[in-house]
C-alpha cells in the first residue's frame, strides 16, 4: 500500500516535472549558432552555450558584465603595496596584461616548491605570504575574488591548458574519483548530472557540462562574483552532501579534473552564469 502511494506520488511528480519542462524550458543555443561557436570545442561546451541570449549579451559587454566591477578592484590591488617587503604585485610582475597572459589557463598546477597541486587563488596567496610578507587574503573575500578575476582575465580567450600527467597525474586521478563518487542524501555524483544527463532537462533548466572555464564568475543567483570552489560547495549542498572547506585538497584536485574536461575551451573570466 505504501509502495503504491509512493509510486503514485512519483508519477505525479514526474507528470508535474514533465509538464513544467514542456511549458517553461528555455531553448538552448544550437551548436551551429555562430554566436556560441567559439565556446564549443569538440564535444566540450562552456556554460555560456546554455545561457539565454540576454545573459550572453550581459557577459559579452565589459560594461554590462558586473564581473568587471571586481576586475577593476583587482587591478587596483595589483598596484597596491602591501606587506613587510614593501612591494605590490606590479613591483615584480609589471603590467599584468603581459606578465599574467595565459598563466591562469594552466592552473591548478604543481607548485615546484612544495610539489603539491595548487590553484590560482592559492598561488596568489603564496605570493603574498612568501614574497610580499603580507597576510593571505581570506577565501571568497572581495580582495581574493577581485585579484583572481583580474589575473584570470589576462587569459581570456586563451584555451584551458592544464597538465594532467607527471606529478599532476595522482591529483587528476583523485579529482576524477571525487567527480565520479556518489555522495550526499541524494546519493549523486558530479558525473551523473554533468556527463550522463548533460543536455537533458531538469525542470526549467538544461543540465550543463559543468565546465569551469569562466570562474570566478558572476552568478545571477548570487548577485555577486564567486569562486569555482563556492560553486562546488553549492553543488554539494544541493545534493545534500557536506560541503568541504575552501581550499580543501579534494576541491583543488576536482578543479584540475574538471579543467581537464574542458581542455581547450576559452577562458571566459569573468563569465556570467545562472
Amino acid at each position: 500500500m505504501i509502495m503504491r502511494q509512493r509510486t503514485g506520488l512519483i508519477a505525479l511528480a514526474a507528470v508535474t516535472a514533465i509538464v513544467l519542462s514542456w511549458v517553461f524550458v528555455r531553448p538552448v543555443a544550437s551548436a551551429t549558432d555562430p554566436s556560441v561557436a567559439k565556446y564549443i570545442v569538440g564535444d566540450e561546451k562552456s556554460g555560456y552555450v546554455y545561457l539565454d541570449a540576454q545573459t550572453r549579451a550581459m557577459e559579452d559587454d565589459d560594461i554590462s558584465n558586473p564581473g568587471f566591477l571586481w576586475v577593476d578592484k583587482g587591478k587596483t590591488l595589483w598596484n597596491t603595496v602591501d606587506g613587510s617587503a614593501g612591494k605590490s604585485c606590479a613591483a615584480c610582475h609589471g603590467a599584468a596584461e603581459s606578465s599574467m597572459k595565459g598563466l591562469a589557463a594552466t592552473y591548478p598546477k604543481i607548485d615546484p616548491h612544495s610539489g603539491k597541486l595548487i590553484d590560482i587563488e592559492q598561488r596568489i596567496n603564496q605570493e603574498r605570504t612568501q614574497r610580499m610578507g603580507a597576510a593571505p587574503f581570506k577565501w571568497e573575500s572581495q580582495e581574493l575574488l577581485a585579484l583572481t578575476a583580474y589575473v584570470k582575465l589576462q587569459s581570456r580567450g586563451l584555451p584551458v591548458n592544464v597538465a594532467t600527467g607527471g606529478p599532476a597525474h595522482q591529483y587528476w586521478l583523485a579529482g576524477k574519483q571525487y567527480y565520479e563518487t556518489r555522495r550526499g542524501q541524494l546519493n549523486m555524483s558530479c558525473a551523473q548530472c554533468h556527463v550522463e544527463y548533460a543536455g537533458q532537462h531538469l525542470r526549467a533548466d538544461t543540465l550543463s557540462q559543468g565546465q569551469i572555464n569562466g570562474f570566478p564568475a558572476y552568478r545571477l543567483k548570487w548577485q555577486t562574483i564567486g569562486s569555482v570552489q563556492r560553486r562546488f560547495r553549492s553543488c554539494n549542498v544541493k545534493i545534500r552532501a557536506q560541503p568541504l572547506p575552501y581550499g580543501s585538497p579534494e576541491y583543488v584536485a576536482l578543479e584540475l579534473y574538471i579543467a581537464s574536461r574542458g581542455q581547450g575551451l576559452p577562458i571566459e573570466t569573468p563569465a556570467v552564469r545562472k
Binding site: D61, D62, I63, S64, P66, L69, D72, Q142, Q223
Partner: protein, 108 residues
Amino acid sequence: MQGVASRLLVPSTAKKGDVIEVKTIIMHPMDSGYSKDQNGKTIPREIIETFSAAYNGKQVFKMQLQPSISSNPFVSFFMKAEQSGTLELTWVDQDGSVYKNQAQITVT
C-alpha cells in the same frame, strides 16, 4: 559600504547631433529589506535611491530606484551630443553617501 566602484562607457568623440548611448554599472548590493542572511536574520534595506546624469551641469537623465532594482545596478540611456563637455553621473545612497563618475565627450 564598499559600493563605490563604477564603470561608465560613452563614446569619447561624437558628431554634433548624434544620439549616443551612455552605459553605466555600479557595485552595490541593493539590499531589498526582504531577504535573509544565513542565520535567518532579515538584511536591512540598503539601496541606491537615485541615479542622475548631468551634462555640463544640466540634468539629462534621472532615475528613482526601488528595492526591485537588481544588485549592482546597470543603466543605459541615450543623449544627444550638442557640444563638447563633461558628463557627470551621481548615485545617491539611502545612507546619504554620494558616488560619482564622469567622462569627457568631444563633439565635432
